[in-house]
């Protein structure tokens, strides 16, 4: 039963990173576009992501709910020590969500669109950076687990653990991952000139992503971040990274050839490999503090709770996954051909 729960935990994490990530990425791609292509990106994103936009973000809620039910001690530490970056993440999610809906559902289209657009783009960049920073600080080894808070200053406990170069690099890496996912996804949703544009963007973000990943590992290694060192010394993890490196070549070709299906699956595979490599080396010790490493499997609730949750997840999954699949199918794939023509006309 515990394995079912763990499966759903990792599954929702993966889907949030992938789908939520592609969603954030769409805003980042728009941010880094020229004036003319901003407009095109905006319309394409609305068409492609609009119907599934809400659903993509519920994975985060599922993730949180599983955490607090099944891994309460672990969740407790995260919630206390990462309070500040999470407030920033939430602020970003709020701004982004409302900006998206305002810009598409405001009854009157006027100058206020300018604010909605910029709010959407900037929060699309900032939110994944803070999300990445939060994850970075979990494994960064700077969290101080204090019994008595009076011996420490506020920044020591609540700021420096996440506000540092390592976390920031993780944040940038995740943001680049998002942009890479979005642009690769969009290749498959467009045609002609626009498709070439996204293929170009995808190539650029792939390059940025690989560079950032390299810098991240190098910096982690030099500044002796335990997580990175263990990661490099773990043959399976490093194997996964090398594999993902090799798979960059077919991915690159697929992007250049604007191959819809292959580029998409290869991009997804990259994320799976990176996530796997990151988690494998340390699983189940995913919080690394100054003193000790905390295992996610410590302080589990009684069996009855895990069992109940597993059953709920199975039932929920059985209801939701087909519906979700149907939604994506109805709006994602089918419309590509018809809308490709429209865009050519613009």
């Amino acid at each position: 039963m515990l394995y079912i729960v763990l499966f759903f935990l990792l599954f929702s994490l993966l889907l949030y990173v992938l789908l939520g990530g592609a969603d954030f990425g769409a805003g980042i791609v728009e941010l880094f576009s020229s004036k003319k292509s901003k407009r095109i990106t905006r319309d394409t994103v609305y068409r492609v992501m609009g119907p599934v936009w809400e659903a993509n973000h519920i994975w985060l809620i599922i993730l949180i709910v599983i955490m607090w039910i099944a891994f309460p001690s672990y969740f407790n530490v995260i919630m206390i020590y990462l309070h500040v970056p999470f407030v920033l993440v939430l602020l970003g999610i709020t701004m982004r969500g409302v900006a998206f809906i305002f810009r598409h559902y405001d009854a009157i289209v006027d100058k206020s669109q300018f604010f909605y657009n910029w709010m959407f783009r900037i929060s699309s960049l900032v939110t994944p950076v803070f999300l990445g920073m939060s994850f970075g600080s979990l494994v960064g080894g700077r969290i101080i687990l204090a019994q008595d808070f009076s011996g420490y200053s506020f920044p020591e406990l609540f700021i420096w653990p996440w506000f540092n170069l390592f976390s920031f690099l993780v944040g940038l890496f995740y943001a680049a991952l998002c942009a890479f996912l979005a642009s690769t996804l969009l290749i498959g949703e467009t045609k002609g000139e626009v498709r070439r544009m996204f293929s170009r963007k995808s190539a650029i973000f792939t390059t940025v992503l690989v560079l950032l990943g390299f810098i991240l590992i190098l910096y982690g290694y030099i500044s002796e971040v335990k997580f990175i060192k263990d990661f490099i010394n773990n043959p399976v993890s490093i194997g996964a990274v090398i594999l993902s490196g090799i798979l960059l070549f077919p991915l690159w070709r697929a992007i250049k050839k604007q191959n819809r299906v292959a580029s998409r699956y290869l991009a997804g595979l990259q994320v799976v490999l990176v996530l796997f490599a990151a988690l494998y080396a340390h699983f189940p010790y995913i919080i690394i503090t100054t003193g000790k490493e905390l295992s996610i499997l410590e302080g589990l609730p009684p069996h009855s709770v895990i069992q109940n949750l597993a059953i709920m997840l199975l039932i929920g999954g059985a209801i939701i996954l087909p519906g979700l699949f149907h939604l994506m199918k109805s709006f994602g794939m089918i419309k590509i051909l018809e809308t490709g023509k429209e865009e050519m006309g613009h």
């Binding site: 609009g50 119907p51 599934v52 936009w53 809400e54 659903a55 973000h57 519920i58 985060l60 809620i61 599922i62 949180i64 709910v65 599983i66 607090w68 039910i69 099944a70 309460p72 001690s73 969740f75 407790n76 919630m79 206390i80 309070h83 999470f86 407030v87 939430l90 602020l91 999610i93 709020t94 969500g97 409302v98 998206f100 809906i101 305002f102 559902y105 405001d106 009854a107 009157i108 808070f149 506020f154 406990l157 609540f158 609730p301 009684p302 009855s304 709770v305 109940n308 949750l309 709920m312 997840l313 039932i315 929920g316 209801i319 939701i320 519906g323 979700l324 939604l327 109805s330 709006f331």
Partner: protein, 433 residues
């Protein structure tokens, strides 16, 4: 003020914000599908126009509800880590089911919003129904978690540890049914009167009265029926509380002295220091009757409970008075609507429409007041009888900054949403018939 107070204020503020959007998210879809159905049946373009306008409203409110809800699901842990550490596993079941309900809702919303002219007509309409049903389901599920805080069951408490956890029993706690029933009806009352009020105002101003009368009618029928049921369900809740949370009942009624044949106070100014209530209207025996169905029943007063277990009496009492007052008023307004169905000339009176304009915000005020009764009335407990709020709060200092930030952000958001709604109506009114 202390960290704890700011955490409580922040929780209250963000929940109070979310509940407005949650209510609208639960109820608006029903209006939308009724109007949509009328369009399918009559092919009167006014209904199509109305459906599409309401659909935009649903989308805007849904997203605001969703982001504020996402913030809440973090906040429970960020503000009350000790609470979530122990309560999370116990009340996880409604929350995990709620996750499923959110998904269904979001999927259905995707189909509905983007499905015009793409999906078969009936199926498209049906996805609208699903939005409404799953919205109500998520509301009921969260309220079950709140019910557990008021009536904790499904575990044994041994040496300060929660053991032998039974998630199903915790989910179906004794407060669950009355609270969920009352809350669901409340969502219908509040949203219906608000929507009806907005459209009544347009009729009052004589802006496209034909369209707005149709909208008003759809909304007010839901509202009138719900407003009639509300006091009945409220009476159930009160009887329940009399048994389960006698301190809360005593605070609601500002009732200090234990006794039989206890009067009900209407209005009154509470003096918490001297434990007295002045300027009140007394109805003899009514409290005994309302709480236990017997004029001679004994009702425990606040003095029978240790002082450190008293909730803030004045706030709870006033909030309760506001809720019940509004409940009575809205029930009468519902009756007025049914009367006007018989005497149609009322629809031509300006004052008729003005009444509903004035009533528009009251439902939501009652919702907020009702939650104050429930939540403040539970103080100082976060888990009634087991854990105090002060034991649950985050050890992180500086909660005041987070509180002020939320206030500013949510106020700006609320203003923006209001402004957007005005623009929707403006566009609706300026369309040529």
């Amino acid at each position: 003020m202390e960290n704890l107070e700011f955490a409580r204020l922040q929780m209250a503020f963000t929940l109070g914000f979310h509940i407005i959007f949650a209510c609208i998210g639960m109820v608006m879809p029903f209006f939308m599908v009724v109007s949509h159905k009328k369009w399918l049946n009559t092919r009167n373009p006014l209904y199509l126009e109305l459906t599409k306008a309401w659909q935009k409203g649903v989308a805007i409110f849904f997203v605001t509800g969703a982001v504020s809800g996402t913030a809440l699901s973090f906040e429970l842990g960020m503000l009350w880590p000790e609470f979530m550490k122990h309560a999370g596993p116990i009340i996880g079941m409604p929350f995990s089911l709620e996750g499923a309900a959110f998904f269904v809702e979001a999927i259905a919303l995707g189909f509905y919003l983007y499905g015009w002219n793409k999906l078969p007509e009936r199926f498209h309409w049906f996805t609208g129904i699903i939005i409404g049903i799953s919205g109500v389901a998520s509301g009921i599920l969260v309220v079950s978690a709140n019910g557990w805080m008021n009536a904790p069951t499904g575990f044994d408490f041994i040496d300060g540890q929660f053991t032998n956890i039974d998630p199903v029993q915790a989910f179906l706690n004794p407060a669950w049914f009355t609270q969920a029933l009352h809350m669901t009806i409340a969502a219908f009352v509040a949203t219906s009167f608000a929507v009806a009020g907005v459209h009544a105002f347009q009729v009052y101003r004589n802006k496209r009265p034909e369209l707005h009368k149709k909208a008003f009618k759809i909304a007010i029928i839901f509202g009138a029926v719900a407003a009639f049921l509300q006091p009945l369900s409220g009476d159930l809740s009160a009887k329940d509380i009399a048994k389960r949370q006698p301190v809360k009942l005593a605070a609601m009624e500002a009732h200090y002295e234990t006794g039989r044949n206890v009067p009900l106070y209407i209005g009154g100014i509470v003096n918490e220091e001297q434990q007295t209530v002045s300027h009140k209207i007394e109805i003899p025996g009514a409290l005994s009757f309302l709480a236990f169905g017997d004029f001679d029943a004994e009702v425990k007063g606040l003095r029978d409970f240790p002082e450190d277990e008293h909730p803030p009496v004045a706030i709870v009492h006033y909030a309760f008075q506001i809720m019940v007052g509004i409940g009575t008023l809205l029930m009468l307004a519902g009756i007025l609507y049914f009367i006007s169905l018989k005497y149609k000339s009322l629809f031509n009176r300006k004052w008729y429409w003005l009444i509903f304009v004035v009533l528009a915000p009251l439902g939501f005020i009652a919702v907020e007041a009702g939650w104050v009764v429930t939540e403040v009335g539970r103080q100082p407990w976060i888990i009634y009888g087991f854990m105090k709020t002060s034991e649950a709060v985050t050890p992180m200092p500086g909660m005041e900054f987070s509180f002020y930030m939320y206030v500013v952000v949510y106020l700006v958001l609320a203003l923006t949403v209001t402004w957007l709604m005005r623009r929707q109506i403006k566009v609706l009114n300026n369309t040529k018939e």
